[in-house]
């Protein structure tokens, strides 16, 4: 274990390389990679590594980056890639394909605004676009969490009860280009956490066609199996947390993370780094006697409905902060989470920090005043923070 001072891009790359090396006694490691701001430093770091049994393929597009991962995964290797924004949009067909083949690929996504017009700053619209792709999705709050989540992702993805790809998301620049002290374990310790990958449907010599044709009744069966695997994720994730704590001595956050929620009557629900700002506002409001709490959704897929319901059970007013907009509807998180609020709770949606606008404590405070003044929820509000 060593303490490194690294950006979240490098933290993700270091975790992927460790996971990859941990599989070098099995069928090795690899992936296709393609640059896009603000993810580029992650793949550049990987391209500087030497692997005893591993290959990073510098492809011509994100679409092919995922296709190389699929080929490598089908051949039994542990695989990784990273992308962002338009790169993820371009990759989309193969993002779906990876999940439909049930391949335990891990991808790091730096959340960035979709363009044009081109904007390199944080917005969650890119990975939420992949909401229905059949991947597990995590949203992280700091560099350590990014690092830990990559390792966790492999154990979760490769579990025979799951066999699904996992997306680990981090906010553009706020994390991707911010250096933080990060605990980096040594390879032997990582090996104790990550067993060799043994893909049951690895392509060998048997004359099978992987991903051929389905009739409706086969698709129904395949979708049901995929959905059942998703449904098993929360339970397997908890086992992964336990194992992680036993091996590395720290416990990764739950799918739903609560802050001062025990007696909270008012709460904010958010994802990723916005949650840090919200916690500061919670502390300040508590000082003024407002019974405010905060819930952070770390796992977006599968959607942890039961955990969210119990977290919000005592809530009278709930503000849901989205760093995204589903045009013609409102925030994506709001649309999914509002049904988890208890009956009679006022649920108001705030879409804030779109295109990377800095969400400051005063902005969250403004939303708190708005929320406290409401008798009923209104239309989803797009809150402009200015810069």
């Amino acid at each position: 274990m060593s303490l490194e001072f690294v950006s979240a891009n490098h933290a993700a790359a270091m975790a992927a390389a460790l996971a990859g090396r941990a599989n070098e006694r099995a069928r090795g490691f690899g992936g296709g990679v393609y640059p896009i701001t603000p993810q580029t430093e992650c793949i550049e770091w990987l391209c500087q590594q030497e692997f005893a049994r591993g290959e990073i393929v510098r492809v011509e597009s994100e679409h092919s980056a995922m296709a190389v991962c699929m080929g490598m995964a089908l051949a039994g290797a542990r695989t990784f890639t990273a992308s962002s924004s338009n790169g993820l949009a371009y990759m989309t067909e193969n993002v779906f394909a990876a999940a439909l083949y049930r391949l335990p690929i891990v991808m790091m996504a730096v959340n960035r605004t979709l363009g044009p017009p081109w904007n390199i700053w944080v917005d969650h619209g890119d990975t939420l676009l992949l909401r229905d792709s059949g991947w597990v999705q995590f949203y992280c709050e700091d560099n350590q969490e990014v690092f830990d989540s990559i390792l966790l992702a492999y154990r979760l993805a490769e579990d025979r009860r799951v066999l699904l790809p996992v997306l680990v998301c981090q906010d553009a620049f706020v994390l991707s280009h911010t250096m933080m002290q990060t605990d980096v374990p040594d390879l032997e310790t990582v090996r104790r956490f990550l067993p060799d990958l043994d893909l049951p449907h690895r392509l060998g010599d048997r004359p099978v066609t992987v991903g051929g044709l389905d009739f409706p009744h086969e698709t129904e069966a395949h979708r049901r199996q995929h959905a059942e695997a998703m449904a098993r994720v929360p339970e397997v994730y908890r086992e992964c947390q336990d194992r992680f704590a036993a091996v590395f001595g720290r416990r990764p956050a739950d799918a739903v993370e609560c802050y001062r929620m025990d007696d909270a009557e008012v709460a904010f629900l958010s994802m990723a780094t916005t949650a840090s700002t919200v916690r500061a506002v919670v502390d300040a409001a508590r000082g003024r006697g407002v019974k405010l709490g905060a819930v952070r959704l770390r796992m977006f897929r599968p959607f942890p409905e039961a955990a969210l319901r119990s977290a919000l059970a005592g809530c009278r007013r709930l503000g849901i902060l989205d760093r995204d907009i589903s045009l013609g509807l409102g925030g994506v998180l709001w649309a999914e989470a509002r049904a988890c609020a208890p009956a009679g709770c006022v649920v108001q949606n705030y879409m804030v920090g779109l295109g990377g606008g800095d969400v400051r404590p005063r902005d969250v405070d403004g939303m708190l005043q708005d929320l406290l003044a409401r008798d009923a929820a209104g239309e989803p509000r797009l809150v402009e923070v200015g810069s």
């Binding site: 290959e55 679409h63 190389v68 089908l74 051949a75 010599d205 099978v208 066609t209 051929g212 044709l213």
Partner: protein, 321 residues
């Protein structure tokens, strides 16, 4: 050159239901695979040139260990519905543009694990000339250890017969009802420009040359590309039994050059045409897709002349060792 002799001894293709004999059973030999690449029960149209291509490829593969990446095209429908597979080798059904990238992944992992698996792409002209071109070009540029076989039926067969950039001038398709206004891409020159180890075109009417070139392409390392003109009775509106004759006419008339290019420099013509004008006329007359339009045979013959001047120049200019 070929390592077919190294494989285990194989009996003739006699076991019923396990082997579709090459050339109507006349060519079943000791080097055929026990399990043919294209197994009985597939649903390809009668007279499909892609089926014949697979049978020749199967013979060339012999005892070699292969894996295939096949994109969306008629050739993946061939596999049949889950959980069946009409292929006698492991196949990944790739997304339409991704065969060469999926194959890259398979080949890299085989290589890093010391396995002598020959990884093949088997793709139509749409997945090669059109949507998969960037993926193909990139894999060729990286010189991936892949044999890429393009069966070119000059049409999007799977989706019911629309034009591709391999559709020849004048051919009517469902999206070029008046006949295509543009000539097809010169795919061999495109691949040769990547200076990959091996590029070849094969004629299904010349099986000895075809099987030998497939075998050579299988044995070489690095990126290899083999192009096959694959008659498609359904899309060409031709008689299923006429496919091989049509290919022979295309070769004789000079319309379809049968050649190979080593290292992007050494061009060799493998079958000399006689530039027969009647053969050209017969080729077009045998296909409904050319019927009724204003195809100018003289102009086509002129284009063939030009194409061959260029080809001869390349053959002469190539560095010979």
């Amino acid at each position: 050159m070929s390592s077919r002799e190294d494989g285990p001894a194989r009996g003739p293709c006699a076991a019923p239901g396990t082997c579709e004999p090459l050339l109507a059973g006349m060519a079943g030999t000791a080097c055929d695979r026990d399990a043919p690449l294209l197994r009985a029960g597939n649903t390809n149209c009668g007279g499909c040139g892609m089926s014949i291509t697979l049978n020749m490829l199967s013979r060339a593969i012999g005892a070699r260990r292969v894996q295939l990446a096949i994109p969306a095209c008629c050739g993946i429908v061939t596999a049949g519905p889950f959980p069946y597979s009409a292929y006698g080798a492991p196949v990944v059904a790739a997304t339409f543009a991704s065969a060469a990238a999926v194959a890259t992944g398979l080949a890299r992992v085989a290589q890093m694990n010391g396995e002598d698996t020959r990884v093949l792409c088997f793709a139509g002209d749409g997945g090669t000339y059109d949507i998969g071109m960037a993926t193909l070009s990139a894999a060729a540029e990286r010189d991936e250890d892949i044999l890429y076989v393009c069966y070119d039926n000059e049409i999007y067969g799977n989706t019911g017969g629309q034009r591709s950039s391999a559709t020849p001038l004048g051919a009517r398709t469902s999206t070029t009802p008046a006949g295509k206004a543009q000539a097809k891409k010169d795919i061999l020159a495109i691949l040769a420009a990547h200076r990959v180890p091996y590029v070849a075109s094969v004629s299904l009417a010349h099986p000895d040359d075809a099987v030998a070139k497939f075998a050579r392409a299988l044995d070489l390392r690095g990126f290899r590309f083999v192009h096959v003109l694959a008659p498609c009775p359904t899309g060409w509106k031709s008689e299923p039994a006429e496919g091989i004759r049509l290919v022979r006419l295309a070769v004789r008339s000079g319309l379809y050059p049968v050649c190979q290019i080593e290292e992007g420099r050494r061009w060799t013509v493998d079958v000399e045409p006689d530039f027969d004008r009647d053969a050209l006329a017969e080729y077009f007359a045998g296909q409904g897709r050319f019927r009724g339009d204003r195809l100018d045979l003289g102009a086509v013959a002129g284009q063939i002349q030009e194409q061959w001047q260029e080809l001869r120049r390349r053959c002469a200019g190539g560095v010979r060792t």
